[in-house]
Amino acid sequence: MVSHISLLLVVVPLIAAPVVAILPRGRLPWLVAFMVAATCAVLAGMQLWAVLYEGAISYELGGWAPPWGIEYRIDAVNAFVALIVAAIAAITLPYALLSAEREIPEDKIPLFYSALLLCLTGLLGITQTGDIFNVFVFLEISSLASYALISLGRQRQAFTAAYQYLIMGTIGATFYLIGVGLIYSQTGSLNMQDLATILPGVLHLNTVETGFAFLMVGIALKLALFPLHLWLPNAYTYAPSVVTVFLAATATKVAVYVMLRILFTVFPQGFAVTTPADELFIVAGIAGIITASVYAIYQENIKRLLAYSSVAQVGYMVLGIGFASATGLTAALVHLFNHALMKGALFMAVGAIVYRVGASRMEQVHGLGRAMPWTFGAIVLGGLSLIGVPGTAGFISKWYLVSAALEQQAWISVAVILSGSLLAVVYVGKLIEALYFKPVSAAGKAVSEAPILLLLPTWTLVLANIYFGLDTDLTVGVAEKAAAILMGMTP
């Protein structure tokens, strides 16, 4: 029975999506979507538990044995990422009820929840599958759904943003597919475990190296690695608030997971170090942290500011991957989890402001912190976590990242990580200044605190930020196990 969980995580939202699409308007579609997301979160928790205590799960789709059939293969790495995705979905959906009613046309509501469930299906599918072509299929399911979700934004720019993401995302997916094709031509296999045994024998072939390069560039586009991040700021800025929360906390994380899988499971670990990819990760990570943080400081739109900060945070994760050490991978995985918490909380709080004011430009939110103390409190605590203040989740990820850098005496990386935190102080400070210290505008005087239904999910994530900053058993414990699996050590 336990092994069926890995499948149900994908199938439950998949079946619910078309059902939700034909439900009548009103709150029924939301209810079904919420129940599905909650079910998925419980299943993902059970799956992680089973994997940690009983070892890897293998599930043969259609009863066809791998490597011919599609296999779902779950170990601590993907069970961890699946739990992040499912839990964020379960927390985002209660928030979605009011926020979506405010921001999305009424006749589009059932389709909105349907697309959200399809996006969840795709993201969970990527985490579950043990087949690199199947990853592409789920990547497309989640991406196509997210293009539709982004285009639902209220401003006209949402269409341009969605179109831009469509083009960039399609290029990324195509690159990934070309990579899969090249590797398939030399190995005749698509199963990750099978590839792991075949690839060491053919690594010297140019085709395989080219395939590796295509895979990496394709995934880098999907995870918005600097300088391939150009689609992300617009997409996050103009998408409906709920969509931004969900995508910011899950989509790029899943792409980071795919990168880890390809680098360390499919290709023999240590291969990346022999190619320029490894140095490129470190250079791109460093450049991303600095450039995107500086860009964030100059943004006049809160959502865009946070979006640039997300690009910087991806930089931290990729930097951790670039170290190619157990500590580095632990740092990347811990940050994967913690960043989902902090960006989820921050985008939710900003969404609550958008709910009240209808805008997210700096000058329109002046002084609103005093009218919306709970929302403002969430932004302050989320911001502190983003900076990496001790006692918050952000501190834990920075700590492991710095240790990983010190381990290899990578002094430049250490300096960059620390200065990235300082730059975060500046942009978070700018946010707090606008919200609290600037005089309230005439229109802002009438603003009241956000409804409780928006505050509860926001504060759940804020408190999770504090909790996982103090108790790191779940995050670091699982991440260390996952990193050990990726590094090929028996946990």
Partner: protein
């Protein structure tokens, strides 16, 4: 004589043939080239031809757009439902073998139902796309 008489007569003659061919591609997909995707597109082509010749309003009377949405969803539910059926019969997801009395019958029934689901969804989705573009600027 109406100027589009020939068009009307030819369309009325061709449309049943297109639908018949779509059904052939659908149900012969197990043995030869074909299957749900191709059949769905051919099937929808018959309706697209109809609406090009007889007008969009007439076509929407035959297939109202809210029906299309239900059909598009239904196909996915059929596909996923076949998988759940094999799950309930005690096998793995989409393990068709358990659906019939023996392996060949089970695999045959399974792929037939799954492709039917694909066909329905593809035909409905193609028509939704067509109506969405053709109906632009009407209201």
């Amino acid at each position: 004589m109406r100027p589009d008489l020939i068009l009307h007569v030819i369309a009325k003659f061709v449309i049943p043939l297109i639908i018949l061919y779509a059904l052939y591609v659908q149900f012969h997909g197990d043995f030869g080239p074909g299957g749900g995707f191709q059949a769905g597109v051919i099937f929808s082509a018959a309706f697209i031809l109809y609406s090009l010749v007889f007008g969009l309003d007439t076509a929407e009377k035959i297939i109202p757009s809210h029906w299309l949405r239900i059909l598009a969803a239904l196909g996915v539910v059929i596909y996923a439902g076949v998988g759940v059926a094999s799950l309930l019969l005690g096998g793995n997801y989409l393990d068709y073998t358990l659906l019939g009395s023996n392996q060949i019958a089970g695999q045959h029934l399974g792929i037939l139902l799954v492709e039917l689901g694909v066909g329905i969804t593809v035909a409905a989705a193609m028509l939704i796309l067509f109506f969405a573009f053709a109906g632009r600027g009407r209201d």
